[in-house]
């Protein structure tokens, strides 16, 4: 039976796609929301460290699975390896309704005004595609506010003197610090830093009809057992479904965006849950499959009209893949600093985010989420035994005495860091897989060393007896966005140096939009999810308002 034509298709139900689907459907458009995964809860895998979304050695609890999915990585030496989703280099986010927002650490940051004007702030950087966004912080501010109130953020920006200007406070009070957080907060004040509680997409009080967080140890990497973590799957997606205008099709893998002979999008081809190839037509298509998969889908959508893939006339689709250069330090204290109060990360400073001497960007520094026991077994100062009795004793003695401060250092984009599709390797459905290649860092070394030294200083002031730095970039790093992947379909005013316009519309196609992390021109010195949600409101809101004015995007 033929699928009924709808007004809009949204591909991917994660941070960006979940929001976009809601914006369109509450505005009265009929929507089909495609998701390659299904609904998941904590019960599917329990509090199992080895199958979580953080430590994935035995599989990804929140998808995708090792049976059907592959990616290819090309090393700097040109070697090709085929990777499973549970292997590190795959660069997974998730595959389920809500995607990463089900199991994320839920830090909910607004970028700073400078993050949208990196070229204006820092000038041209040799060898980099560093640029300004075509929109400003002020443009996106109302969308941040919507994301905070409709999805839910606990925080108090008034404690952060470097916070971006806002019209309305965050809707929930911030979380109180755990023991580590209290020690670090006091130390930061002694050092003249400006500590504040990390904004969290988690309920510090009952909110949105869901209960208060009870501060589990297993938070980041897991779904919440009481639904206190705010993702798209328990906020905007239910609103979309309740509107009566949105149909969610789970376990459906979109393989291609279809084009007619005028170069207009007619809809998508997909494989349904039983593996049957199907077609869904629509007036508008919004792709929000995450930075790696969105680029892959556009590049796999080859036609007479778009022989190199949709939007790729100038070879920009898949370029400028970014994540963050995570850097910081560990410290061992002579008393327990661990109080089993999850998620663990509570305190931050934004003192080194922009306007540092001779450094482009910077980032926020936070105390880190709780490390579970297997993960901790890999954490040792250099020179310490990696196995044997000494290793075991270290684990026993120090598990509760170690704290970490780290942060997402802003990565300077490089054209060379790239997602394209592999000519040979295909997934279970026969679709060519994403291939990641190139190098990521330009000018990361000095900045990461600077951030790590500040983290170390902070830990020492808090009383750490032994400290060591991590994540300082030396030499050239392989491309990859990890869980913070972004940038592969960047927005811009010039179609020659960007893929989408300022509303997320693919320059060369009137009725195709992107609404996920792919749009980021630069990735900020913060975890990206709230910004991606804000872009979901920005793009979705634009489509909905144009639609209501009668624009059919032809």
């Amino acid at each position: 039976m033929k699928n009924k034509h709808v007004n809009a298709i949204v591909v991917g139900s994660g941070a960006g796609g979940g929001v976009a689907a809601k914006e369109l459907s509450v505005a009265g458009m009929s929507v089909v929301l495609f998701e390659r995964g299904g609904w998941v809860t904590l019960d599917d895998h329990d509090h199992d460290e080895l199958i979580s979304q953080r430590t994935t050695v035995l599989g990804n609890a929140y998808g995708p699975d090792d049976k059907s999915n592959r990616r290819v990585r090309i090393s700097q030496g040109g070697d090709k390896s085929i990777l499973l989703p549970s292997e590190g280099g795959y660069d997974n986010v998730a595959a389920c309704v809500g995607s990463g927002t089900v199991s994320y650490g839920a830090m909910g940051w607004r970028f700073m005004p400078e993050d949208f004007k990196m070229k204006t702030t820092y000038g041209h950087v040799e060898g980099s595609t560093l640029d300004d966004w075509p929109i400003t912080y002020d443009d996106l501010e109302p969308c941040y506010e919507k994301a905070e109130w409709e999805i839910g953020v606990a925080g108090d920006d008034s404690q952060n003197p470097f916070a971006s200007p806002r019209k309305k406070p965050q809707p929930m009070p911030p979380f109180p610090h755990n023991k580590e957080g209290r020690m670090l907060e006091a130390a930061a004040r002694r050092l003249g830093f400006h500590p504040f509680p990390i904004p969290m997409l988690r309920n510090s009080v009952p909110y949105g009809g869901r209960p208060q967080c009870y501060r589990m140890r297993t938070c980041v990497g897991f779904a919440c057992p009481v639904n206190a973590k705010c993702g798209t799957q328990n906020t905007v997606i239910p609103v979309a479904l309740n509107s009566g205008n949105c149909e969610l099709r789970t376990h459906c893998v979109v393989s291609k965006i279809n084009v007619n002979d005028q170069g207009l999008i007619t809809g998508v081809s997909y494989f349904d849950e039983s593996g049957k190839a199907q077609i869904q037509t629509a007036d508008v298509v919004v792709v929000a499959a995450s930075a790696t998969e969105t680029a892959r889908l556009l590049l796999n959508s080859k036609s007479g009209f778009f022989p190199d893939g949709i939007g790729n006339e100038n070879g920009w689709v898949g370029r400028n893949l970014q994540g963050h250069a995570y850097c910081g330090a560990w410290g061992i204290f002579n008393e327990d600093v661990y109080d089993d109060c999850g998620s663990g990360a509570t305190v931050a400073i934004s003192d080194f985010n922009h306007h540092n001497d001779n450094i482009i960007g910077g980032g926020v520094l936070c105390n880190e989420f709780i490390r579970l026991p297997y993960q901790f077994s890999t954490i040792r100062p250099s020179g310490a035994s990696r196995w044997g009795l000494e290793h075991k004793k270290f684990q026993e003695r120090n598990y509760k005495r170690v704290a970490r401060v780290c942060g997402p250092y802003q990565q300077i984009p490089s054209f060379d860091a790239r997602v394209d599709v592999d000519p040979d390797v295909k997934d279970f459905w026969g679709i060519p897989v994403a291939r990641i290649s190139g190098t990521a860092n330009i000018k990361d070394s000095k900045g990461t060393a600077f951030m790590a030294s500040k983290a170390e200083l902070w830990l020492k002031e808090a009383g750490a007896e032994q400290t060591w730095q991590t994540g300082v970039v030396t030499g050239v790093r392989a491309a990859g966005g990890g869980q913070h992947q972004a940038g592969t379909c960047r927005m811009g005013n010039d179609p020659k140096t960007s893929v989408c316009d300022k509303f997320g519309r693919v320059h060369s196609v009137p009725n195709l939009f992107v609404a996920d992390g792919s749009l980021h021109v630069t990735n900020g010195g913060f975890n990206p999810a709230l910004t991606i949600m804000a872009l979901g409101y920005w793009v979705g809101g634009y489509i909905a308002s144009e639609w209501s004015k009668g624009n059919r995007f032809k």
Partner: protein, 197 residues
């Protein structure tokens, strides 16, 4: 439909080729005794017990052997770690032939310190060099081609940590020993108490 079937067959061929065998390792060598293990032979399991006990030894807390780490690895090797079967089969046999060249004894019969020293040589990649100097026919070099001594040790070490510090539901970490050692309560009660209070 037809196209879909074809591509699936193609996918399986491709992945078996690219990611290492997705099928069970074809044939165990004939001399191995029938085993109650899923993948390991009785001899291999005994050797594994000896190695993992070196990696996480018994002190006032159970070591990796008694905590069931060999069982954990055996179970994963017919599950998510099917792709490592060949590495384990070759690696374990290479350990025994190297011990034979160096000590004229199997690994389990070495003293504790000799075992530690041997694993340290693997860890640092010095085992193949040592064998080469002992054995002019350069048989040792071939056993551990491409730094396999180091990579196999790293693999076993990592899997041992997973088995000892991961959830007991996978067959290791018997009686939550590592969680008790660290002082973490399982199953979770603190969070729930906090919620109720």
């Amino acid at each position: 439909m037809e196209r879909n079937k074809l591509s699936r067959r193609h996918f399986i061929q491709m992945s078996a080729f690219g990611v290492g065998s997705l099928l069970l390792f074809p044939q165990c060598s004939p001399q191995l005794r029938k085993s109650s293990w899923r993948f390991f032979s009785v001899e291999e399991a005994f050797l594994m017990d000896t190695i993992v006990e070196q990696i996480i030894p018994t002190d006032e807390w159970m070591g990796a052997r008694d905590a069931g780490v060999t069982n954990f690895i055996d179970k994963q090797l017919v599950g998510p770690y099917v792709r490592f079967q060949e590495k384990y089969r070759n690696g374990l046999s290479a350990i025994q032939s190297s011990c034979h060249i160096l000590f004229r004894k199997p690994f389990e019969e070495l003293s504790w310190d000799e075992q530690t020293g041997f694993l340290k040589m693997m860890e640092t990649g010095k085992l193949s060099q040592t064998l080469e100097s002992r054995d002019p026919s350069q048989k040792g070099e071939k056993i551990w081609e491409n730094n396999f001594d180091r990579s196999f040790f790293n693999l076993v070490c990592d899997h041992t940590m997973q088995g000892f510090y991961g959830s007991p539901r996978h067959g290791g970490n018997k009686d939550y020993v590592s969680y008790r050692m660290i002082g973490l309560d399982y199953p979770f009660t603190i969070g729930q108490n906090r919620y109720k209070s």
